[in-house]
Structures are given as C-alpha cells and as structure tokens.
Symmetry: C2
Subunit: 203 residues, 2 copies
Amino acid sequence: MEISPAALEPRQMHKLIIGSVVPRPIAWVSTISAEGRTNLAPFSFFNGVCASPPTLSLSFSYNPERPDHKKDSLRNIEATGEFVINVAAEPQQETMHATSGDFDIQVSEIERFGLTTAPSVRVTPPRILESPIQFECRLLQIIPVGEGRGSATLVLGTVEHIHVDDHLIDDDYHIDIRALKPIGRLAGNSYCYVHEIFDLGPR
Amino acid sequence: MEISPAALEPRQMHKLIIGSVVPRPIAWVSTISAEGRTNLAPFSFFNGVCASPPTLSLSFSYNPERPDHKKDSLRNIEATGEFVINVAAEPQQETMHATSGDFDIQVSEIERFGLTTAPSVRVTPPRILESPIQFECRLLQIIPVGEGRGSATLVLGTVEHIHVDDHLIDDDYHIDIRALKPIGRLAGNSYCYVHEIFDLGPR
C-alpha cells in the first residue's frame, strides 16, 4: 500500500506510527504540580538520547481533554522543571496500564492505585518503589512539534540520579534483562513480553 | 544501587541506558551522500514524536571513528535533508545487525550485503525492499545534545510517504503486528522477538 500522509487524518497517521514503530519502551512518569499534587502516567514515545549529558526523550501528545491542550505530566514538567521516569516491568503491568486512563486533574494516580512512593534525591517529584529502576530527571529542553490535534511537545531531560534494584545490576553497570522483565508497548491496548531474547554478532 | 551520573564515564552511562530503556524499536536508515554513495545502518534511539506533522525522532551518537565525529548516516542527512527509515523485521535480522558494523565510508552496506533497493517517491535515498514498511522522511530539525564523547545529535524527520506491504495493513491503517514480526533492541548484541503479545484494558 502506498500512503501519502497528507491524505490521512491525524488519528489514522497516529495508528500507523504506533503500529509500525514497535516495540516501544515505557516511561512511567511521576510529576508534581505547582500546587503540590502528584501525577503518574505512562508514555511510550520515549527513548534514550545520549550518555553525556545523560539524556532521555519523551513526547507528549496534544490533549483535547484540557483547556491548555496539555497532558497533566507535561504541564507539571513545565511548571517545576522536574520529573521521574520509573521503568515499568511485568509486576506493575496492570497498574501501569490503569494509570494511562483519563483521570480528573485533581486525582493523583499514585494514591488512587495505592502505589508506594519514596522521596527522590535530586528532584521534588516522588519515585515509585514498585518500579525496579527510577531515573530522576531535570528538564533540559522543550521542543514543540506542530500545532493542534496530532501535534506534540518533545521533552528532553537530563538524568541527575538513578536508583536500580540491587539484584538487577552488576559492578560494571550491566542490567540483567531477564531479571528486569520489561514490557514493550505496541498499538491499541497491546503490549509484549521480552522473554525470547537472542544474540546476533559479532559484527 | 544509588548512582550519580557525574561519577560515571560515558561508556558506563551508555550501558545503563541501553540496559534500562528497553525494548527499543529499530530504524534501519538508508541515506545518500552528497557524492551519491548510499549508506544503510540501524539505530534504536528511535521513536515516534507525533502524527501532525507526522514526525519521527532518531538520535545519532558521537562517532570517534570519523574526523568530523559524525555517523555517516547523520552526515548524509545533514548534506541532503533526506532519509528513509526502513522497519527491520525477523527475516532481515542477521543482515540488519551486520550493517551495524563499522565500515569504511566508501562502502555501501546496501551493495555489500546484496540488498534490493527501489527508488523512493519523495526523497532521493533508495528504500530497502526486503523491509516490510518504509518511511520516506525529510529533515525537520537538528538538535545537538552535549559535546564530545557520549554526546549526540537528535534528528527530527517529517514523514512524506509510506510504503507498507499489503498483507500487513487493513483499510483503517491498522498494522498486523503478528504478520509484521518486528524485533526489539536490547543492550550489547541482544535483541528480542515480539511473539508474546497481550492486551490490557479497557482503562
């Protein structure tokens, strides 16, 4: 099939991207508002950018449900310059997915789903102890892309501190992927396990 | 384990990020140089950004092997403003991985590995016919992050045309993930299959 994006509505293009750019890692993002309300939500337009400075990227899509058209997480990041990326793994899969629902701005998903928090070391938003790896991040750059429905705001964050469950990491900073048990994001309500791991190479 | 990034070397921080931000989608990027030489290489700091304009992101790490410290793909994108993201799936896994090796700038990985190309519709670099989905992209924005070893250049591209193998897509632009057979990138030389798919929800 030959597809010209100009002929597609934003929701059709979105479906095509989330079905083709797979599997995606999941950032379960905890933030705090200017008024001190916590928020927790998963995002999968998420990846690494580089190691020095240690940088991660997150894209927040246009939100028709709010007057300012922003996801609550993005509004909080803009207000405070801080966020925590909690890695979501198999034991958290149901709760993580549930926090992707559309909740009133007054609702803290952390309280609603009975998650356990701990203070962060370098930033104000709490980290989620159920998560096996937590990246404390400070806002580096905000990059708006497009306008209106289908647009997004790309956020770059610098990692200021990392917490890793002891059994997942060795002294040379190698992560044990089988012990981590990450899950990958696909389209719709679909996810994948990372059980069938294989090595290729040497190159 | 508590980790302060300031205490880590770039290669240690890189290992931590590629072990934690998993599984990652793979962009098998075809480009052409100002002199007309083709290049093909895989990158996994890759994701969607938004649907309108249809935008994808790619991060290219600092390359100590070249005088300008750029990956050949990045140099070509800067020179021409164009690239094709070919989705790499199971049938291409060995070849895709082989093209991640460090080849002389004179070598076209496309010719070296006997891949089949077809002309693109909207851009100059060819697309790889062995790949089931090909996104023709035009450079939207270049965002440098950091300097020296461990730094990167983040590239945003606008999708101008898409080719999808007919058996993978329906009239509503839904991609059949089981037929696509994507693979996910992990750390080192490791990858994962996307066979164990599950649904969560409704939210």
